[in-house]
């Protein structure tokens, strides 16, 4: 049995150890070395990369990325919550097809979905064209190659994750609680604020962490929709590897990104765990 199980797990374990754990471990180690003269790696120990990451220039890029990612999170929540709530209210047999329809775009090409927004938002694009034809504007609006376009692209790419996370939280609530609240005289808005919203906080946390992490590490959207003028964390890492050829510093930045992601996921897990504990204590 044990040898059988090893036979089953062995290849997968070997692959993921060799091509995931070791490379990621290497990234962590690389951050402590110096950049070689010709762009290679000089194996002399240093902590300079980490202090350099705190430099106002890079801290600024980090804060800017976080701000953009946070904006994408908030808008995804505002769009995603009512949508997930509505899906959870549908008859059981219709919920699954509706969710699959939400997730379908995720499985298709991200580059092309991003490109679609270039077509829609550019100066001669569909939206400007329509607005000019309607006489609403004379000059085309600057919709593309700015923060607005980046946020639109991120929300477009990741709102399905948000809806999925929220749905799995909302669909766990039975109608009984809301009915009890309404029967006790609370109006539906009050019921939502006092009952539904607090009970679905774990879903909100999970969806937000997902969208934030995917957004802050994104490289394609700022590159294509930001017009390459704006640097986000993902672009900075890209540049260190392919343009500046400072691999140790790029590795440090990647390591910090993963550390931030782990921190957020841990916080979210602790938060969900504690709520579950509270509910058990109450029951």
């Amino acid at each position: 049995m044990t040898s059988n199980r090893l036979l089953l797990l062995g290849p997968g374990l070997a692959w993921l150890t060799g091509l995931l754990i070791l490379p990621c471990g290497l990234i962590f180690v690389l951050g402590f070395f110096e950049r070689g003269v010709y762009g290679g790696i000089d194996y002399t120990f240093t902590t300079e990369n980490f202090s350099r990451a705190a430099d106002p220039l890079y801290a600024g890029i980090f804060l800017y990325s976080a701000r953009i990612a946070l904006t994408a999170v908030v808008i995804s929540l505002l769009i995603g919550y009512p949508a997930a709530y509505c899906i959870a209210q549908q008859p059981k047999s219709r919920q699954m097809p509706l969710l699959i329809l939400v997730m379908m775009p995720f499985w298709s090409n991200y580059l092309i979905r991003t490109y679609a927004w270039i077509v829609l938002l550019n100066r001669e694009g569909l939206i400007n064209g329509a607005l000019i034809n309607l006489g609403a504007i004379v000059e085309p609006l600057p919709l593309l190659y700015n923060d607005f376009a980046i946020v639109v692209g991120l929300v477009y790419g990741y709102v399905p994750f948000m809806i999925l996370a929220l749905y799995s939280s909302i669909s766990k609530l039975g109608p009984e609680l809301a009915e009890a609240s309404t029967d006790l005289g609370a109006d539906s808005w009050r019921t939502f604020l006092r009952i539904t919203l607090p009970l679905t906080l774990p879903g909100i946390a999970a969806g937000s962490v997902f969208v934030f992490v995917l957004s802050i590490g994104n490289f394609v959207t700022p590159d294509l929709l930001g017009g390459g003028k704006r640097t986000m964390l993902g672009n900075l890492i890209y540049d260190q590897f392919l343009t500046a050829r400072d691999w140790p510093f790029g590795a440090t930045l990647a390591f910090l990104l993963v550390a931030l992601m782990m921190l957020l996921l841990t916080l979210q897990a602790v938060f969900v765990h504690r709520r579950a504990g509270n509910e058990e204590a109450r029951a």
């Binding site: 199980r5 290497l26 064209g129 590897f241």
Partner: protein, 265 residues
């Protein structure tokens, strides 16, 4: 109850209208590209008549054909590898409650940002002084595909009655026969669904391929070619590419979902 339902009705209507708009938001841009790909002028400003000339232009573009061939090789090989390894991993993990560290290891490739995995693999390959090319993209794609296949196949075990495995062994069948005649038929739809998803993920993946393809254009994949075209500017050819890519992805995902649903019913 009916009074409450009545009161909630306008809210419900608003929610449904909102959901409709969300679907419009998700699919509108895709539909625009599809429509434009058949526009003779190819530009979003005016409809100048139906035409398939952008598709014939694509078929004559050697760079694109070459990139598609590369992508197909990468997707087929990485899917084959990860379907076998991921399925074995799933069976092994379902045989007994897996260690949390193993669970984390399988979840990691799905949540780690693409750019991080991309540079980690590039650094690792160059440390090993490996020449880069299609083979290194295949190695890289199998990392996240093994995780996806394993996760999809494991969901299949939720409906799996373990006692039939014991019954088979009690009746004298060996471990391999039991696997082939009992376990495999039950999980087969999940395995095929997982393979279809893995293929879709691989053929659409850009960043990891971009970093692990190495210099030179011989190992340019289809998404890398698309990226180059987009960077170059809005050309009507991309609309045709987009329509084909979207169509293929949607068909694969649709098939995969159908397969996965069948057993639950």
């Amino acid at each position: 109850m009916s009074a409450a339902a009545q009161r909630a009705d306008p809210v419900r209507h608003w929610l449904q209208a909102h959901l409709g708009l969300v679907y419009l938001f998700l699919y509108g841009p895709i539909i625009v590209l599809i429509v434009l790909s058949f526009n003779r002028a190819g530009l979003p400003t005016a409809w100048t008549g139906f035409s398939t000339e952008w598709y014939s232009k694509l078929a004559a573009n050697a760079k694109i054909i070459n990139a598609v061939e590369n992508s197909l090789v990468v997707a087929f090989v990485s899917t084959a590898i990860s379907t076998v390894i991921g399925t074995l991993l799933a069976i092994g993990m379902e045989a007994r409650r897996p260690h949390p560290a193993l669970e984390a290891l399988v979840a990691a490739p799905m949540i780690i940002p693409d750019i991080v995995l991309a540079i980690a693999l590039l650094s690792f390959f160059s440390l090993l002084k490996m020449t880069l090319g299609l083979h290194s993209i295949i190695l890289a794609h199998a990392v996240f595909n093994i995780a996806f296949v394993c996760t999809v196949v494991r969901t299949r075990f939720k409906h799996f009655d373990r006692s039939i495995v014991e019954a088979s062994i009690d009746l004298g069948a060996g471990a391999f026969t039991t696997f082939r005649r009992v376990t495999l038929p039950v999980i087969a739809p999940g395995v095929i669904a997982a393979a279809l998803l893995a293929f879709t993920l691989s053929i659409d993946e850009f960043i990891i391929a971009y970093f692990t393809a190495g210099p030179g254009s011989s190992s340019t994949t289809f998404p890398m070619q698309i990226y180059a075209m987009i960077r170059f500017g809005v050309t009507p050819e991309i609309n045709a590419v987009a329509t084909i890519v979207m169509g293929v992805s949607f068909v694969l995902v649709f098939l995969s979902q159908r397969l996965n649903r069948e057993v639950e019913a």
